[in-house]
């Protein structure tokens, strides 16, 4: 429960944490789109340097952030291997049977690896510096123009908030059920993959039943407090888009522009 994973909120006080969630969501969107327009290695390195500086601003220890990234390393490694072995651009560096390594492949592999890492880190930074509820509020607000097209922006945001809120609850519940089944002799670590998958049935069935029961209870609790959806609903925490938020957004755009032009 205490191990931190990619996408988890990292609660510290930093200038980035204090930004308006909308500014951060927009900046991340700009970053992600812009990243696909950066086509030179120099530009990519420039953007990468800016992101490293940003991690520092977020007051997230570099080691912790690096650990966040561990799950994507496999995909990154796979990308590099594919590019190195299947691209035949540029002078040959190395040959072994039908394996050929070319400088172009090496360059492309490095470039794509960097792009994936930057994409994931930017999204990771957004969720690490923005509390889930603030994130949902921000998304609701950004989607609200779509309400005219009958898009249920509030409902979507509420669903996200609830889903995020119940991850730890369900986690604790799963842990308890696991314990109860282990006390009845269930073994989750022995046997092949099929047996281990089957051993999860006694955990997943009650967990699902419990989730439905919780959903019912939550719906009743919300209705008994007068929840009727987003119409005319006010907020406890109002969002304020200030000068600093605008500045953060402008700086992001500028960094990407420089990256694209380099």
């Amino acid at each position: 429960m205490t191990s931190r994973a990619l996408g988890q909120y990292y609660p510290v006080a930093s200038p980035v944490h204090a930004l308006d969630p909308r500014a951060k969501i927009l900046a991340t969107a700009v970053f992600v789109v812009g990243l696909f327009l950066v086509d030179s290695t120099v530009g990519m390195l420039f953007v990468a340097a800016a992101l490293v500086a940003l991690v520092g601003f977020c007051r997230i220890p570099a080691g912790t952030f690096a650990r966040f990234m561990r799950p994507v390393l496999f995909i990154v490694a796979l990308t590099v291997v594919f590019q190195v072995f299947f691209s035949r651009e540029g002078p040959t560096l190395f040959m072994w049977g039908f394996f050929e390594v070319h400088t172009g492949g090496l360059r492309l592999g490095f470039f794509l690896a960097l792009r994936i890492l930057l994409l994931v880190s930017s999204a990771g930074l957004l969720t690490a510096t923005t509390a889930p509820v603030a994130l949902a509020d921000g998304i609701e607000d950004l989607l609200s123009p779509l309400k005219r097209l009958r898009f249920p922006a509030h409902e979507v945001a509420m669903m996200m908030t609830i889903a995020l809120r119940f991850i730890p609850t369900l986690g604790a519940e799963a842990e308890k059920i696991r314990g109860a089944q282990a006390a009845r002799g269930a073994d989750f670590s022995e046997g092949g993959p099929l047996r281990r998958a089957r051993s999860l049935v006694p955990v997943l069935v009650p967990l699902t039943v419990g989730a439905f029961r919780r959903a019912d209870e939550l719906a009743e609790a919300m209705e008994s407090r007068g929840y009727r959806g987003g119409e005319g609903r006010t907020r406890y925490r109002e969002l304020h888009f200030g000068k600093r938020d605008a500045l953060a957004l402008i700086v992001t755009v500028l960094i990407l522009l420089v990256g694209i032009l380099l």
């Binding site: 314990g179 089944q181 009845r184 009650p206």
Partner: protein, 271 residues
């Protein structure tokens, strides 16, 4: 069998900012065929403690001994069969399509043949007074029925020690009485029972000995009379009344169970 916890401490998430010391140097024994009541407030470490009895949680330091043997040297499934642990709200772990199959889960995990499994299922369901529920779906039962079926699921392992964590929480009085009778019945056939509860009245009714926990430490152990009369502020209402009467009428003794208390009061009035 005799279960012994020796200087057991448990720290959750050591070395992080979430570190919590849940148990601190707990010494405790569960003697063969006794009912041991464990009492203590919320957060006193009761639930953490009971999970050490079958090593679902491993002690951060200290030992768990089964008949004098270090429990860590026993095979896990062997230990979990001998020490049956019923979690708080055990009905949350019911999963099979029928009650029968759910109760059969543990004996099947033990690798018993189907004849033996069927016998044990029938026996355990009858023991909790749920024999007629065998073919029903566990999800269609009432709260009290679910609780009884879930307990039968652990009884089917024929444990030598049965550990019940808050077994009567949220039950109606009749089901509660049945459950307490079941505990006494198990003691009669030599099974030890550990009853965790914050309902002092029910602990007073069935426990041979009591262990009181406070902030992860054992604050008192002894017979119910010893523990409750030394700390009447944390004793059942009956004991609080007799404790006050004792100041002027020492002849009332130290009754703990409700019936005993009534008898003592009657004797006082008659004499």
């Amino acid at each position: 069998m005799r279960l012994e916890l020796r200087d057991v401490s448990h720290v959750y998430a050591p070395g992080t900012s979430f570190e919590v010391e849940a148990l601190r140097g707990v010494y405790l024994t569960v003697e063969q065929g006794e009912v041991l009541g464990i009492v203590g407030g919320t957060g006193s470490g009761k639930s953490t403690l009971v999970q050490h009895m079958n090593l679902l949680l491993a002690p951060t330091s200290g030992d768990v001994l089964v008949d004098g043997i270090d429990a860590r040297t026993l095979h896990k499934s062997e230990l979990r069969r001998r020490v049956g642990l019923v979690f708080q709200f055990p009905e949350a772990a019911l999963f099979a399509p029928t009650v029968e199959e759910d109760v059969a889960f543990a004996p099947r995990q033990l690798g018993l043949d189907e004849g033996e499994v069927g016998e044990r299922v029938g026996e355990s369901l009858r023991a909790v007074g749920a024999g007629e529920l065998a073919v029903r779906s566990p999800f269609a039962l009432s709260g009290g029925e679910k609780r009884r079926v879930a307990i039968a699921g652990v009884l089917a392992m024929k444990p030598e020690v049965l550990v019940l964590d808050e077994p009567t929480a949220g039950l109606d009085p009749a089901t509660r009485e049945e459950l307490l009778d079941l505990i006494l019945g198990l003691r009669e056939v030599g099974i030890s029972v550990v009853l965790v509860s914050h309902d002092l009245d029910e602990v007073a009714e069935v426990a041979d000995r009591i262990c009181a926990l406070h902030e992860g430490k054992v604050s008192a152990t002894g017979t119910p009379a010893e523990v409750f009369y030394s700390e009447p502020a944390q004793a059942p209402a009956t004991v609080q009344v007799t404790f006050i009467l004792r100041a002027s009428k020492p002849g009332i003794g130290t009754p703990v169970r409700f019936e005993e208390t009534l008898q003592a009061l009657r004797a006082l009035r008659g004499g």
